[in-house]
Amino acid sequence: MTTTSSTPATRQGPGESSTAGGTETGAPRRRGSVSRILNRMPRSAWPLLVFVLLFVIGGLIRPNLLSLDSLIGTATFAMILAIASFGQTAAVIQGGIDLSVPNTIAFSALSYLTLIGPLGPVGGFIGALLAGTLIGVVNGTIVAKLGLTPIVTTIAMNGLLFGVVLLTFKNSELTVIPQFLTDITATKIDVFGLRVAAVLPLGLALMLLLQFVLSYTGWGRSLFLVGSAPETAKLAGQPVDRIRIAGYALSSLLAAFSGIVIVGFYAQASATMGSEYLLGSVAAVLVGGASIAGGRGSMIGTLGGALVLGQVATLVAVANLGSNIQQLIYGVIVLIVIALYAKRGRD
């Protein structure tokens, strides 16, 4: 008997079981202590394990890779990717995606550099973040109220921002990076006796804060609910539209933040500075264990995914294989990850 309600995207047909059994808590059918340990660990820890594995493998190939310096170098690169991907994590968890990340990064970075003139470094910072939030609110409103798919909405927004960036900013005049920004990104500081770029502890703190929001606040849990079962969320009386809009607002806010971090760390800005983060952020999120359909994901996992991708980049650079091979390996890794996670979900 079919429901007469608004059409769900997939209607259950006769081939689907009406009394499907469980997935997570059937007694683990696998044998072996390794599998049992893996099963006990949260999904978000798996990429960290892979990272450690890759790190060790790298050390076997090239012993000088087993150094703290190399670890910190990779981690720094990965942390920047992770910061750019935290927003994407929120978007994917709620069952959407944010393809406006690249030009939000560019727009926010360039606005920041433009605004520090009239508003000062802190004022410019706040201004750029506000602009980012506004972008996300527009994205979320279009998705929630107009019903446009997130892919189309965020692609359109990405294009729109590209045009705005080209029309508004003259790059040649934006060269001054304020000291305040460099201090919180590129400047090396002492952490537990190690000299690391400030962006590392910054990103870590941000990750912990965001993970707290995801795991321990009502809004965070309702984000998972909306991503995992939007109709259920609506019929349980949750304000799904508001939750979605807030989710996209957070995504764009974080993308804007990462834009400022990127321009601070690399000390350069251009209209295309964000383009590698389009697929890169989604890759980091997927390798981190999020489900592209929504309802699953974590900030810790995203950091783990970024670390894996970063270590791959390090290995490729050391073996002098070229950025092409790096892209190829990225693709293969994402493929393996989604195949593995799909299989695990089906067991």
Binding site: M1, T2, T3, T4, S5, S6, T7, P8, R11, Q12, G13, P14, G15, S17, S18, T19, A20, G21, G22, T23, E24, T25, G26, S215, Y216, T217, G218, W219, G220, R221, S222, F224, L225, S228, A229, E231, T232, A233, K234, L235, A236, G237, Q238, P239, I243, A246, G295, R296
Partner: protein
């Protein structure tokens, strides 16, 4: 299970061997879904030209057996042979090629196709050419051959009524010219003229040697159409019967088990209260609803009856704010209602148990605890583990009072059985200061024990002063447990029954439009 002989219907201990001329033989069919056993060692056979009924309560496993026969689901173990061909691949295509066609309970029509496409495309090779006009003509021929000339072959299936869609689904199965036709609850959306049409078609088919497997829980139909039958209960064979040799009571006791758990708990007498009605609505209009007026007192259980597709789903959704609706007068617990959304309805004290527990009631990937807390997340408050800890008492109270079998609040909701899942959807509203609970067929597809537990929970709600609006497709539930029943027909109230007038015959009669009184206003 001891072998009992209760007149002509027998409860069996061991399956008798199938005669050599049997068209369909099912042996030791078993189906596990993870930890849940849906079908356990079911065996039966069907002779050519015979109508064989598969009978049982909702959740007894008859639909799963039908799906295995149709090739939609591969059995975990067991053997199916149809016309000498073994069917075990779990591919519908193979079953259809072997001459087995099924009209599925969850209609397997492609909504975006036209009727003609749904009738003309099945079984065909993708490399054929296709013309809309040719398909429409072939469809017209098929439909008129089946006496279904009122259906437009060029209409998109999405635009048809539920009843017409069921007719098209049946036509598609018959159009495959099968040796074995499986009808899975094929009459669920049909009014008596439709059922009569169906029986005529069945007789046409059996006259030429086609066998028919008729899956149903409507005993009245079986008396007319079934030659032989198998009764299932809790996934196992509970008995067999053949035409003319059984009584309804025998079948019911086989379907329900020894405890005669068909006995429904009676609703307690209505508490006298001078509080405002928990729900009062006058001339409620929405898409599919043409002016319904209702009033529910605190503690009253109001049943909603009628054939499926006559506005009951829309009524519940409208009252909860899930679809746009307007009314001349509308109040929940005495407070006026203007534009209602589910969020606002919850704030006003309403709760809703939707039709599809898997897609609308639960987040299957999330835990039991978080599913219970789904309506109660607040953005700025704590969620996740700290919230589960602080709500431990409430959750264990709910899980205990409903006897939910689960490992704990962290177990994924998808791992629970259907009955326990339904209890979660129901339980999230308990002890949360609700005034009105809207139930959409909460006992559909769950086992007998879970049903009993739900009945008791509903009665407890009523005793504590909560108003209950209960749409059920099982007339017996309405008649025995509800204080009052309103029957909908074509989006309007056809009749309102209570006291002595509240009988199964009256409900069914009003459902098909033969009410003695027409009620526009309550």
């Amino acid at each position: 299970m001891e072998s009992q002989s209760t007149g002509g219907a027998t409860a069996i201990a061991v399956a008798p061997p199938a005669p050599p001329e049997a068209l369909l033989v099912a042996r030791n069919l078993t189906k596990h879904y993870g930890a849940v056993t849906a079908v356990d060692d079911v065996s039966f056979y069907c002779l050519p030209g015979e109508v064989h009924a598969l009978v049982g309560e909702n959740g007894a496993g008859k639909s799963t057996v039908a799906k295995m026969l149709a090739g939609a689901v591969a059995p975990t173990s067991g053997l199916i042979t149809a016309g000498g061909v073994t069917l075990d691949t779990g591919r519908i295509r193979d079953a259809r090629l072997a001459g087995v066609a099924c009209a599925f309970q969850e209609l397997a029509l492609v909504q975006d196709w036209t009727v003609a496409e749904n009738l003309a495309l099945p079984d065909g090779s993708p490399l054929r050419g296709f013309s809309q006009r040719g398909a429409a003509k072939a469809a017209e021929a098929l439909l008129s051959g089946l006496d279904l000339t009122h259906i437009d072959p060029r209409a998109q299936v999405e635009t048809l009524t539920l009843a017409d869609r069921q007719l098209v689904e049946i036509a598609r199965a018959i159009g495959a010219k099968p040796k074995l036709l499986i009808l899975d609850e094929a009459s669920s959306a049909l009014a008596p003229p439709g059922v009569a049409w169906l029986f005529t078609r069945i007789r046409e088919l059996t006259a030429i040697g086609t066998s028919v497997i008729y899956v149903s829980h409507r005993l009245g139909e079986l008396a007319e159409i079934a030659d032989r039958g198998t009764v299932l209960r809790d996934g196992r064979v509970a008995g067999e019967f053949h035409r003319g040799s059984w009584t309804e009571n025998q079948l019911i006791s086989m379907m329900a088990g020894r405890e005669a758990s068909r006995a429904f708990p009676a609703a307690p007498p209505l508490p006298v209260s001078d509080r405002a009605p928990v729900l009062e609505v006058e001339n409620l209009v929405a898409e599919g609803l043409n002016g319904v007026s209702l009033s529910i007192k605190p503690g009253e259980i109001l049943g909603i009856g009628g054939l499926q597709g006559h506005g009951q789903a829309e009524l519940l959704r409208a009252l909860y704010g899930a679809i746009p609706a307007s009314a001349d007068g509308w109040s929940i617990d005495g407070r006026a209602v203007k534009r209602l959304t589910p969020a606002r309805a919850v704030r006003l004290g309403a709760g809703y148990v939707p039709e599809d527990r898997k897609r609308e009631g639960l987040a299957l990937e999330m835990g039991v605890g978080e599913n219970l807390l789904a309506p109660w997340f607040r953005p700025a408050q704590l969620g996740g583990a700290p919230r589960l800890a602080s709500e431990k008492n409430w959750m264990s109270g709910v899980l205990g009072s409903l006897s939910v079998r689960t490992r704990g609040p962290l177990e994924a909701a998808g791992a629970l059985s259907g009955g326990n899942q339904q209890k979660l959807v129901f339980g999230r509203w308990l002890d949360r200061d609700r005034r009105l609970i809207l139930l959409h067929d909460p006992t559909r597809g769950i086992d007998v024990r879970a049903k009993q537990e739900l009945y008791r929970a509903i009665i407890d709600l009523s005793a504590s002063g909560v108003g209950v609006l209960w749409f059920s497709t099982e007339v017996e539930e309405l008649v025995h447990v509800c204080h009052r029943v309103v029957v909908l027909y074509q989006g309007k109230v056809a009749d309102e029954l209570d006291g002595d007038r509240l009988t199964a015959e009256a409900v069914v009669g009003a459902a098909v439009g033969s009410a003695s009184k027409h009620k526009g206003l309550s």
